[in-house]
């Protein structure tokens, strides 16, 4: 037994130290801030690799490590510790988070070069890494909650990084608030665990899950799902993710694509024993996953903003993962596998999008791109590989992971199995469609960004004079290297994981595995997926590849217009929650002022009135005072006599 577990805390401590130094250090560190940030994040990754090597050296059942730091909240009957647990599931996340995180730190050095607040940006990124690592390393739900909110805070700070833009500040606030709604779920789930098991440490809770009643487990499961919906942008708490694209692109890549938004999947997989005992909750999980899968895909089809299109795609891909996680032991491993491969290709895609924006004066509208492959060859190739991976091109990462999920969905059995499998299959087709659309609009076709060129559509005046024509160019090396590394991951990770079901066996001691009884053979599923893929790509090519793409968005069909507005979900929120809330608070302020305060002030006023009247008795005539004196005396005497008579 080595002492490797003593290193676990360092995984979190390194980036936390970075955050503290960078945020408290002041302007003196402006020149070296990005170096410190990147170095500490890389240190975390190196420690992760060391621990991974140590873990591989042990037997499959002896791999979990734990480290107890100190007792956090010791109160009678309530035990919360700061303690870490590193098993295969956590290890997977640690490597993904610190690995992709370090790459994105590197990328940000170039991307944020001209931002005067770059030191602060790296401080926030480090804070995020620390919180995210805490989230996946915690050995109890309460400590997980700390990481859970910590990533929310980092996400808030980073979405609103360009605070001077009101839209960014609003988006940040929205993200935090929607996440808080989800946090209610996590809070209540922990409280339920406490009243059910008397603890909320993973070991005792998950170990005793089968002793609790199914009703309890279902309640806990649904509450955990609510939490997962908030963090992972699942319907009905998905509305913040699109707006979160206001943040700098590296943030979108790291937090809102590769890592933080997948925390919900982690939560559900981690709590597998609870869901295994609550089939109703599992069903709801799969339904949420399936609905979001379609929702995100449809939204992704209509967006012209490249980052928002990718955000829709993220939502949809996480829908796949949640769907898989809801399937139980058949799907847990595949959910995580898709999570990892998605981490590679989606981070790569976002970094590619950032690279495009970097070269295009921060233009995000894809209708003003076109033909960029000549100008940005590295970006084109890496983005293209990410594209092939996400649509599930045979042999690339997405093909292996997504295919397995679709297969597992069918394997759930019964009508649900057919419906879920069908939805997943349909989603694969839509994915192929919208990603092809993004690809064509950005890298192929006419160069619509040229101001001097004839307008792409007759009747539309060229928008000139506002900005200089962009000069697309390839990004600096610090940005392209991470993209290349991620592209490698996008291409090979899935295949590597799938050789001999390597990934499944790696996770099996933690999540369990059940092959299920698929009603259709794996080959059929793969073929069906291929057909959907070809159809999706084909339609996109017919629509966007063969003719010119209009610079101004056409009005579009009813569905397109709805999808552009996120299927009216935001409008609903605005009318019901924002407006309704405003009216409620305003009327409550009025009530507090007039009613609650009014009762008191009214009492005071009536006392005043009464004493005003009594004051009149004091007329200053000694005789009238004498009368009251005599009268009083007479009444007293009379009363005394009367009492005696009685």
């Amino acid at each position: 037994m080595s002492n490797a577990e003593n290193l676990i805390a360092l995984l979190v401590a390194a980036p936390l130290l970075g955050a503290a130094v960078l945020l408290c250090g002041g302007r003196r560190l402006d020149a070296v801030g990005h170096v410190i940030g990147t170095a500490l994040s890389t240190l975390s990754f190196v420690i992760g690799v060391v621990l991974f090597a140590d873990m591989l050296g042990r037997g499959a059942d002896d791999r979990a490590m734990s480290q107890h730091l100190f007792s956090w909240i010791p109160v009678e009957g309530f035990q919360a510790d700061v303690a870490f647990q590193l098993d295969q599931l956590s290890m997977t996340f640690v490597l993904l988070i610190s690995g992709v995180g370090s790459l994105i730190h590197l990328y940000s050095i170039g991307y944020m070069e001209h931002d005067e607040r770059r030191r602060r940006f790296f401080g926030y990124l480090n804070l995020f890494l620390a919180a995210m690592l805490l989230l996946v390393l915690a050995d109890n739900y309460l400590l997980l909650y700390v990481g859970w909110e910590g990533v929310g805070l980092a996400s808030y700070l980073l979405i609103g990084f360009w605070q001077h833009k009101p839209s960014a500040a609003t988006a940040a606030k929205k993200a935090f608030l929607v996440n808080r709604v989800g946090d209610i779920g996590l809070s209540i789930a922990i409280m339920l665990m406490f009243t059910t098991f008397g603890t909320f440490a993973f070991g005792p809770v998950l170990g005793a899950a089968d002793e609790a009643g199914e009703g309890r487990l279902t309640a806990i499961g649904l509450m955990l799902l609510l939490a997962a919906c908030g963090k992972s942008a699942q319907v009905p708490l998905q509305s913040w993710l699109g707006d979160a694209m206001e943040g700098p692109t590296p943030v979108s890549a790291l937090i809102h694509a590769a890592t933080m938004v997948t925390a919900g999947v982690y939560l559900i997989v981690r709590s597998g024993e609870i869901f295994n005992g609550a089939p109703d909750a599992q069903l709801v999980v799969t339904v949420v996953g399936a609905v979001t899968l379609l929702f995100g895909a449809i939204v992704g089809c209509a967006k012209d903003d490249i980052k928002k299109a990718l955000a829709g795609s993220t939502m949809s891909q996480i829908g796949y993962m949640i769907l898989a996680a809801g399937l139980g032991p058949i799907g847990y491993a595949f959910a995580i596998m898709h999570l990892v491969t998605h981490g590679f290709f989606k981070a790569g895609l976002f970094l590619g999008a950032g690279s495009v924006m970097h070269g295009m004066n921060d233009e995000v509208d894809m209708r003003k791109y076109g033909g960029l492959r000549k100008y940005m060859p590295i970006t084109f190739v890496t983005f293209g590989l990410g594209y092939l991976a996400i649509i599930g091109f045979p042999g690339l990462s997405g093909f292996f992971s997504k295919d397995k999920i679709i297969e597992a969905a069918f394997a759930k059995g019964g009508t649900e199995g057919w419906i879920l499998g069908g939805v997943a299959l349909l989603g694969a087709g839509i994915t192929a469609y919208y990603m092809t659309r993004v690809m064509i609009m950005t890298f192929f076709g006419e160069e619509r960004w040229r101001k001097s060129a004839a307008p792409a559509e007759p009747g539309v005046a060229p928008a000139s004079g506002e900005h200089d024509e962009p000069h697309p160019h390839e990004s600096p090396r610090s940005m392209t290297i991470p993209m290349i590394v991620l592209a490698f991951g996008s291409v090979f990770a899935g295949g590597y994981f799938s050789i001999g079901e390597r990934f499944v066996h790696w996770l099996e001691p933690v999540t369990g595995y059940d092959h299920g009884h698929p009603p259709v053979s794996a080959l059929t599923v793969t073929l069906a997926t291929m057909v959907m893929l070809v159809v999706g790509v084909g339609i996109a090519y017919v629509q966007y590849g063969r003719g010119p793409v209009p610079v101004l968005a056409p009005r579009g069909s009813l569905l397109t217009r709805a999808a552009r507005r996120d299927l009216y979900q935001d409008d609903f929120n605005h009318v019901v929650l924002v407006r309704g809330g405003e009216h409620l608070t305003r009327s409550l302020v009025y009530v507090d002022h007039t009613l609650v305060d009014g009762v008191v002030n009214g009492t005071a006023a009536s006392m005043g009135g009464l004493s005003g009247r009594l004051r009149k008795l004091q007329n200053g005539y000694a005789r009238s005072y004498a009368v009251s004196m005599f009268g009083g005396a007479a009444i007293l005497v009379a009363a005394t006599l009367l009492m005696r008579a009685v």
Binding site: H164, A169, S187, T195
Partner: protein
């Protein structure tokens, strides 16, 4: 006889108050330094109390007892349990920051005559409040407690009415009228509560024949003092009413926003972070120990009122346009949590509530004092007058954000620990109330982030474009508070260790046991 440590802790600021008041008019700065040094010395004494206190020892420690008004059995009896120790430490800790933050708040205006000595008065009054609050936390004689509970109002009245916030809209006369309205409202509300409590105190003496908390509680516990159910309930209500006004609990809360809005920021901190804690502390110490049965009888109603406070306070905070009133309503919401934790009657709830008192003191002080620095720069309390401060004064904005995050109970900062304990403790016994209270965390995020967004982000308003960042004195006030928030968020053990035994004893007074986890219970 050993050194009367508790008396010394309360007497030092009292003597300091007299000395500060006696400083000649021209030596203003000397008065400030004197007050600061006295408050720091008191902090040292409070820390000695904390160190000398043995969590595993007797319930009341460092006790002192002398006859006072022997005809009525009134004794000068002091003693602290873990809850008292924690709150004395909080009080002694916050006062130096209050003094430092109010360094220039009571400098005389040029229009005042030279004989006018506001500065001396201001700091002397603050020290007087400190002395009375500390002795309230120490008194184990009901009558002694009552006297200082009420006497506290006098210096508070002058602090609110005599030293207004210089940032106000409208004319000076208008502001003075508003201020005196707030001060009188504060006084009347609290006097009304105190009057009812006085009746209950006398009633208690008639029934029990003693004012000694320990004697009565012991007699209640071993059954030698029987109280008719109705009598107990009436007495309980008399005490509770006074404490609910002070705390404040909905619907007795309306004095707080007025008082906090009109007072200078340090005084606002004094009200909500220190003085109001006496109310919640007294619920825990007097209501539960003296009237255990009546406390249990009233629990459902009080929990509902606390729940209303939580949600109502938070909703009203969202609707405020004045920064200080917003913090006041947020405090009402937090006091709802504290009262809910006390009356949930579980270990977690009560430990959480006590911890909440400490944490709320620190977090509100941090947020409010930074808000005060902000307000003093711009001369306006209206949220709409700010915008884009983050770009001009990043350190101020950063500290403001941390204060706000503490207010919304972000995990990792101290208030989270206490809020979660309260929620868990309540949920264990009253699941529905616990769940509804959880919605308070979303509303807390809403009012905090809306406040931050409107004041700190967005385009820089021309009026704030020349705003200086935090000065050294201001940073000295804020930085230790923030450090403490983080420390107690990560490692609250030093405080919970002291509190926990006292809570266990209180629970055994009311004869309540924690509910068993379902899985255990099934076995």
């Amino acid at each position: 006889m050993s050194f009367p440590l508790l008396t010394a802790t309360a007497a030092l600021p009292a003597l300091g108050a007299i000395a500060t008041a006696a400083v000649p008019a021209a030596r203003r700065t000397a008065a400030k330094w004197l007050a600061l040094l006295v408050s720091l010395a008191t902090l040292v004494l409070a820390l000695v109390v904390m160190v000398r206190f043995d969590p595993g020892g007797d319930r009341y420690q460092l006790t002192e007892s002398h006859p006072w008004i022997s005809d009525f059995g009134v004794r000068y009896e002091l003693g602290v349990d873990g809850i008292g120790v924690a709150l004395i430490a909080l009080t002694a800790l916050l006062i130096p920051f209050v003094i430092l933050a109010g360094w220039h708040d009571a400098d005389p205006l040029e229009t005042h005559s030279s004989r006018w000595r506001p500065t001396q008065g201001f700091f002397a009054l603050i020290l007087a409040v400190e002395a009375m609050v500390i002795i309230s936390f120490e008194a184990t004689d009901v009558f002694l407690f009552y006297i200082f509970f009420e006497a506290m109002l006098i210096p508070m009245y002058f602090l609110i009415g005599g030293f207004g916030d210089r940032a106000h809209s409208g004319t000076d006369e208008n502001a003075a009228a508003q201020r005196s309205y707030a001060a009188v409202k504060f006084l009347l509300y609290n006097l009304a509560g105190g009057l009812i409590m006085l009746a209950a105190v006398i009633g208690l003496y008639v029934v029990a024949g003693s004012f000694s908390l320990q004697e009565i509680a012991a007699a209640r516990a071993d059954g030698s003092l029987e109280m008719a159910t109705t009598t107990e309930r009436w007495l309980f209500l008399g005490f509770f009413f006074a404490f609910a006004v002070k705390a404040p609990l909905w619907p007795l809360h309306t004095w707080l926003p007025n008082a906090m809005g009109e007072a200078t920021t340090p005084v606002a901190v004094l009200i909500t972070a220190v003085v109001d804690k006496v109310g919640t502390f007294a619920m825990l110490r007097f209501c539960l120990q003296l009237f255990p049965e009546a406390s249990k009888w009233a629990t459902p109603a009080i929990l509902v009122l606390a729940l209303i406070s939580i949600i109502y306070g938070a909703l009203l905070a969202v609707g405020q346009r004045d920064i200080k009133r917003l913090v006041a309503y947020a405090s009402i919401s937090h006091f709802g949590f504290i009262i809910m934790g006390i009356f949930a009657m579980t270990s977690q709830g009560q430990s959480g509530a006590t911890l909440y008192m400490v944490n709320h003191g620190i977090s509100t002080a941090a947020l409010m004092l930074v808000a005060g620095f902000l307000i003093s720069r711009r001369g306006s309390r209206l949220i709409a007058d700010y915008g884009g401060v983050q770009k001009v004064a990043p350190v101020l904005a950063g500290t403001f954000l941390i204060g706000g995050l503490a207010t919304l109970s972000l995990p990792g900062l101290a208030p989270f620990v206490s809020e979660f304990l309260v929620l868990v403790g309540t949920f264990a016994r009253y699941p529905v109330i616990g769940i509804i209270a959880t919605f308070g965390i979303v509303l807390a995020a809403l009012y905090t982030l809306v406040l931050y967004q409107r004041t700190m982000t967005g385009p820089v308003k021309p009026e704030v474009s020349t705003m200086p960042d935090l000065r050294v004195r201001e940073l000295l006030v804020v930085a230790p508070l923030i450090a403490l928030l983080i420390f107690l968020g990560v490692f609250p053990k030093p405080v919970t260790e002291i509190i926990d035994p006292a809570v266990q004893q209180t629970l055994s007074d009311v004869q309540k046991k924690d509910p068993q986890p379902e899985v255990e219970a099934a076995k």
